[in-house]
């Protein structure tokens, strides 16, 4: 008994954070879905969900309930155990990745020495959920979708990994905490390695199977890809995994390129008034909610709106807490989490923006883009950033070093595009067979 207590004492905060992540993440994913539907509606001249709760605020909960009580269908010839297990693998991999992510200097389950590598490793296991699910369904479309998905994820994981290597090179560490601290007081790595960031953006879209790279679930070709035979709760689990993965890649990008939990212009004391932004923004949202409360069509919606406004007000108070001298120590934790989540949402917003603007690639075009453009460019990018680091050690000042390396990488990018545009008879991408070495 005392051993158990001691264990709990040793691992109290990590355990609490883990529970919070497991509890909050599905909710968060649900609200990312709502955000996506709202953003999509806005871009498509519609309103989006409006019925469940004010402005559809309770829609994710309604969706989740609907999915939970749906009939659970397992295809007759499916491999039942694997069919049951596959979505779990996906979602576990996605959730496990959070254990090394630092949402602020305080909110982190485990500070690992190999943090970033751990996240990449764990999230790469999500592939198994997809490929096994597609196989276990015993359906042609599912299998093709799963194979495509795997080929695509592996190809782009190489590019994403190499893009990350660039960032890691600049930080000189793999630990998520130290990566963010390396950007403290200096510039965020997105301004040192814009091409690396761009590469990671594209590769992460492809890796999370989102448009314009959403071939695995291209509804006009493969119905729903690996998820075709899934319904109800299992389908919801896949869906959750997909959105959780989105949040993971967004968090990685935020940590590595966008300065993690750091405030914009954190090193300029004259701009310290930005610190007022977190409480004020929540206060604004709360005010808007209360302003809209009497205008809701149903009394119940008014109540929900008021409650939501109250929640935002509470958050605003929490964000204002560091300005009380007694609680000043809580500032990095609270504001850090705010800035981190804000950056993550902006990154996810860019995903959505891209999704609703572009048509879908064809599979061979996708592979060609991956192998003929992304991977070579990301290798050059790593070389460029290595050169940058060496030049900085040779006491070059920032701008010449930056212009030289980024300009060089950009030239290579242009050259690659030019190569691709030349109508040479390039052999079909060899793709799947060779990337285990990558």
């Amino acid at each position: 008994m005392s051993a158990l207590l001691e264990f709990l004492k040793t691992y109290m905060w990590p355990l609490i954070f883990a529970l919070v992540i497991v509890g909050v993440l599905p909710l968060l994913a649900g609200y990312v879905v709502l955000m996506e539907r709202k953003v999509m509606a806005d871009m498509q001249a519609r309103l989006g969900p409006m019925r469940v709760g004010p402005h559809g605020l309770l829609q994710p909960i309604a969706d989740a309930l609907k999915l939970l009580i749906k009939e659970d269908i397992i295809p007759e010839n499916a491999d039942k155990l694997v069919f049951w297990f596959a979505p779990v693998i996906s979602v576990t991999a996605a959730m496990l990745a959070y254990s090394a992510l630092a949402i602020g200097p305080f909110f982190q389950i485990a500070e690992l020495n190999i943090g970033l590598l751990f996240i990449v490793a764990v999230s790469s296991m999500g592939i198994f959920g997809i490929i096994l699910g597609g196989w276990a369904s015993n359906s042609h479309y599912s299998l093709l979708g799963a194979l495509r998905s795997t080929a695509q994820m592996i190809s782009y994981e190489t590019a994403a990994g190499l893009a990350l290597v660039g960032g890691v090179l600049l930080a000189g560490t793999l630990s998520t905490q130290k990566i963010v601290l390396a950007q403290h007081g200096g510039t965020w790595f997105v301004f040192v390695a814009p091409i690396g960031f761009f590469l990671y953006l594209v590769a992460s879209i492809a890796e999370t199977n989102r448009a314009p790279f959403d071939l695995p679930e291209a509804e006009s070709e493969l119905v729903a890809g690996y998820m075709t035979e899934y319904s109800g709760f299992r389908w919801a689990v896949y869906f959750l995994a997909e959105y959780a993965n989105m949040i993971v890649v967004a968090s990685i990008a935020t940590t590595l390129f966008l300065g993690g939990w750091l405030r914009p212009f954190g090193s300029i004391a004259a701009l310290d008034f930005i610190d007022f932004f977190p409480p004020l923004s929540f206060l604004g949202v709360a005010g808007y909610c209360l302003y809209r409360t009497p205008k809701q069509p149903e009394p119940i919606q008014s109540i929900v709106m008021a409650l939501f406004g109250g929640l935002c007000f509470l958050l605003a108070t929490a964000m204002a807490l560091p300005f009380v001298p007694a609680f000043a120590a809580s500032k990095p934790g609270l504001h850090g989490a705010f800035w981190f989540l804000l950056k993550v949402s902006l990154y996810i917003y860019s995903f959505m923006w891209i999704r609703f603007t572009f048509p879908r690639f064809r599979f061979d075009q996708l592979m060609k883009l991956g192998w003929y453009f992304m991977i070579p460019l990301s290798i050059v990018n790593v070389l460029g950033l290595g050169l940058y680091k060496v030049l900085r050690q040779l006491q070059w000042s920032r701008w010449p070093a930056f212009l030289l390396t980024t300009g060089g990488t950009l030239l290579v990018a242009i050259w690659l595009v030019w190569l691709a545009q030349r109508k040479v008879a390039v052999p079909a991408p060899v793709g799947e067979m060779t990337e285990a070495e990558g």
Binding site: V82, I114, L117, M125, I127, F128, I131, L132, I154, E435
Partner: protein, 174 residues
């Protein structure tokens, strides 16, 4: 419970999982199940690496072994998936002889380890000597690029050769 004890429990848990996974790998009728068992075994091994403080090897094991090689395996299994194979004999003719010989080998090795233990050279509790820190990524990198730079390059050449070989072999003959 100290972290020490915790890692002990973790070791025996992972060891059991690894052995179970390995047994599943060689006995499963369905190749995909076999691969799943192997993945379990490999992941358990990665866990053991973690208890040994080899964090980098842990990550490499997952990224390369599980995320790379095993995906490749499953990929190929799906390409050559033959339902016929499920109903054929799973073990070959020499299975009894092979089993016997393996047991002999196992007992030999087992005795070897057992007697080595008696001599005392294995009795040093692990991790007492030397300066290997648990957070050894930096040490690892330095050793890899200084002491083992040549083998590293040779390994990359090996990969290149394998890559070309695989492409040539699977390429469609026009």
């Amino acid at each position: 419970m100290t972290p020490e004890q915790f890692s002990q429990i973790a070791f025996y848990f992972f060891a059991g999982l690894a052995v179970l996974g390995a047994i599943g790998t060689v006995t499963a009728r369905n190749v995909v199940h076999s691969a799943i068992f192997l993945i379990t075994s490999l992941l358990a091994t990665a866990g053991i690496f973690l208890t040994l403080g080899a964090q980098f090897v842990f990550a490499v094991q997952i990224i390369l072994y599980v995320g790379g090689i095993m995906v490749l395996f499953i990929f190929v299994i799906m390409l050559v998936n033959l339902d016929v194979a499920l109903h054929q004999l799973q073990f070959n003719r020499q299975r009894w002889v092979a089993g016997l010989l393996t047991l002999v080998l196992a007992s030999q090795l087992g005795f070897a380890i057992w007697f080595a233990r008696g001599e005392g050279s294995l009795d040093i509790p692990a991790g007492r000597t030397g300066t290997l820190s648990p957070q050894n990524v930096e040490q690892f990198g330095l050793a890899l690029f200084e002491k083992y730079a040549l083998p590293f390059e040779i390994a990359s050449v090996l990969l290149l050769v394998a890559l070309i070989g695989a492409v040539v072999m699977t390429k469609k003959r026009a």
